[in-house]
């Protein structure tokens, strides 16, 4: 894909985040979409492309009153929105549509108008994972952690530091759900969920949503806010069964999506000013740092424990507080993208000074899928 040919010209989250008992899931989509449209200074009738996940594009298009010429219902978990950005950029470049709206929302906490997720007993997951007691992401996503720790010599304390560093970022963010400082000891003494992970190493469960509006970079200068250009993109999928990953020492989907985006962007790791790595659980940033090629996996735990990703560190990571402290409605990828856009616009609550390149890396399912978007504010 051509570098910087497409830009984000509208970006917004739902008016409220956290616990939103007075709105159903589809209305959360609409709230985020209307906020993004206002942010871009557009009318709903200007939108000719629509992408969303879990909810179908037809539900969102109908609810908002949009007649699209391009739709994308890619639904591969929490990184679906990274894939939507990539697909939308290609579609705009190909002339299939001009102005794309991507929406996410989830009534993850209040569960109003939320479709139940189920695993049929005759699916592969239903036959070869469900009978062994997996029950929701906390019992599945951390399954690779002990192997990863043994292979690379990573300690419990180092992984606990992921949560500590992100809480420091969250403390700077008025919209973050959890802001009180925590220590490594707090993390390692918090309630056990699925050994080796405790509750402070697991994502929050909240309500919320977000929306993005993309158009061609040539039109982007006519919009009210500073355009954020799409410099590089990547995507992949591996397996819906965490037990069937090629290895627990790495994510194959990460290793395809991340490097593809870097190659497309033509940048090296030292060019990255700001980094988001979807942190549904505390080991994700370690996998991300290694699989995206920032450093060998052996060094990821020490790198975070040494404070390199906390405020003032050399590689600001998950600067909104992440899924561990900011919010996590179920499919967090949209909020990672929103924070990258805020950082590129220069308006983030914990703004990284003079940041010009932001890498936003997402996961879907339990390492089932991945999407990486590299943004820049310079064309």
């Amino acid at each position: 894909m051509r570098k910087n040919a497409v830009a984000v010209v509208g970006a917004a989250e739902t008016t409220e985040l956290g616990v939103i008992p007075n709105m159903s899931q589809i209305q959360l989509h609409a709230d985020a979409a209307l906020n993004a449209i206002a942010d871009a200074g557009l009318k709903l009738s200007d939108i000719d492309g629509i992408a969303t996940a879990v909810e179908t594009p037809q539900q969102i298009a109908h609810y908002l009153g949009i007649t699209p010429t391009w739709v994308d219902g890619t639904s591969v978990g929490g990184c679906s929105f990274m894939l939507h950005v990539r697909h939308a950029a290609a579609a705009i470049e190909a002339g299939l549509c001009k102005t794309v709206l991507i929406t996410h929302a989830e009534s993850g906490k209040s569960m109003i108008g939320k479709l139940p997720r189920s695993t049929p007993p005759d699916s592969l997951n239903g036959q070869f994972e469900s009978p062994f007691g997996v029950y929701g992401p906390p019992s599945m996503f951390p399954i690779p952690v002990l192997r990863y720790m043994k292979t690379y010599g990573i300690t419990h304390e180092q992984i606990a530091m992921v949560a500590v560093a992100q809480r420091e970022w969250a403390a700077k963010n008025p919209r973050a759900t959890m802001k009180a400082p925590i220590t490594v000891e707090d993390v390692l003494n918090s309630k056990m969920i699925a050994y080796p992970f405790r509750i402070l190493q697991c994502c929050l469960v909240t309500d919320g949503g977000g929306a993005l509006i993309l158009t061609s970079a040539d039109r982007a200068k006519d919009f009210p806010n500073k355009p954020v250009y799409i410099l590089g993109t990547g995507e992949s999928v591996e397996t819906p069964m965490v037990s069937q990953m090629e290895t627990f020492n790495s994510s194959r989907a990460f290793k395809v999506a991340g490097p593809t985006a870097f190659r497309e962007a033509g940048i090296s790791h030292k060019d990255v000013d700001h980094l988001m790595i979807y942190d549904a659980f505390a080991h994700l940033p370690l996998f991300g740092l290694g699989d995206l090629g920032f450093m060998p996996h052996e060094e990821t735990g020490k790198f975070i424990a040494d404070g390199n990703t906390r405020p003032g560190g050399k590689l600001p990571l998950n600067t909104n507080g992440g899924g561990l402290s900011y919010m996590h409605s179920g499919m967090y990828g949209m909020y990672a993208l929103q924070e990258s856009v805020r950082q590129m616009r220069g308006i983030a609550p914990a703004q990284v000074k003079d940041a010009k390149i932001s890498v936003c890396h997402g996961v879907g399912g339990m390492f089932a899928a991945s999407g990486t978007i590299i943004f820049t504010n310079e064309r």
């Binding site: 036959q127 062994f132 997996v134 037990s243 069937q244």
Partner: protein, 137 residues
């Protein structure tokens, strides 16, 4: 009221041989006749070379503990926490999810790479699950 039961698999045409195997006290895998790749979960073609010429064989039932969590909460129906959800690396190569029985469900007792052997737990007349326990000797 009956205790909630653990999730029960429902075989498909492609997986029926596996579940027939566990009922007969065998852990059955598939091997590609063309490239000798051994794979799991079951399917009637080789995911490595796409050949449809594949054979079903009885695996050794031996393996090692690749990784696990000890689940505390929320617990799945039919399970009493804390219980380990393990991934076993079979001697033939493929990995599969299972539970470790006849072993304390603690980090001290559950050592990565420990040797395991298959054990069969009958759920009902149709379904028997392959579980694993520490290998003897």
């Amino acid at each position: 009221m009956a205790e909630p039961a653990r999730a029960k698999p429902k075989p498909t045409p492609e997986t029926q041989h596996f579940w027939d195997g566990t009922q007969a006290g065998e852990l059955r895998l598939q091997r590609c006749d063309a490239c000798a790749n051994v794979y799991f979960p079951p399917r009637p073609f080789c995911p490595s070379c796409a050949s449809r010429k594949v054979s079903i064989f009885k695996a050794s039932g031996k393996g090692t503990l690749y990784s696990y969590v000890i689940n505390h909460r929320p617990a799945a129906p039919g399970f009493t926490p804390p219980y380990a959800i393990a991934v076993v690396e079979l001697d033939e190569g493929p990995r599969m999810m299972s539970n470790i029985i006849d072993c304390p469900q603690t980090p001290e007792a559950l050592e990565l790479d420990m040797k395991l052997e298959v054990a069969f737990e009958k759920l009902d007349d149709k379904i028997t699950l392959p579980l694993f326990r520490p290998a003897k000797g």
